[in-house]
Symmetry: C2
Subunit: 136 residues, 2 copies
Amino acid sequence: MDGVILTPLKQIHSPKGDIFHAMKKSDEGFDGFGEAYFSTVNKDDIKGWKKHTRMTLNLVVPIGTIEFVIYNEITKEFFNIELSQDNYQRITVKPDLWVAFRGIGEYNMLLNLASIEHDPSEAANVEFLGIKYDWN
Amino acid sequence: MDGVILTPLKQIHSPKGDIFHAMKKSDEGFDGFGEAYFSTVNKDDIKGWKKHTRMTLNLVVPIGTIEFVIYNEITKEFFNIELSQDNYQRITVKPDLWVAFRGIGEYNMLLNLASIEHDPSEAANVEFLGIKYDWN
């Protein structure tokens, strides 16, 4: 989907513990660093929909499994993917796309490396019913 | 300790899941964004010692509990702290300090928001015996 970039990320395993890459500033999809935060989502709960008009999101799932759905309100197109340690990729979401995500595992956590700091004036929220997507 | 900054971070709880802050570019301790990666450490295992000559580390523990020890080789001073969701702070470590960390919980994960991309030429490793610290 236009405005969405999937980037497989390296995992380096060692006996004491692992390294999971998230993002380098030279990576495709990096639009500057504004803020990093974690968001957890309970099993079967859905967070969203939310749209940013200026922020580029870079989402990584280090814990659990999260299903992401991206919606383009112009083309009416949906894109969906499940990310986890087993399908360890970064999803970059450019501005003006709607995003929602659902917890699949028992404990699910994403990291967002956002291109700008949180600013309520550039974000919009809609109720579930505003965008018709069949989650099943 | 000089060169170490502890910053309590916000946790925002909601019924569907939580938000855990990690870093904003306007925060104290932010020296630019180079790379973000996760490192896991098994219970009772120790990773380190490692020293960076140019990288500032910004370490957050979203999963499990990790004990960090920072060592200043000039003053021979040690600093230690355990971080977790229950003691949710960011530790900023400026260059030229030695860092080691030990897994305390069953599954332990840190996020490093590093000021530069990984570059082996600016990092040094020493065996455990090189720095005498009593972990117990």
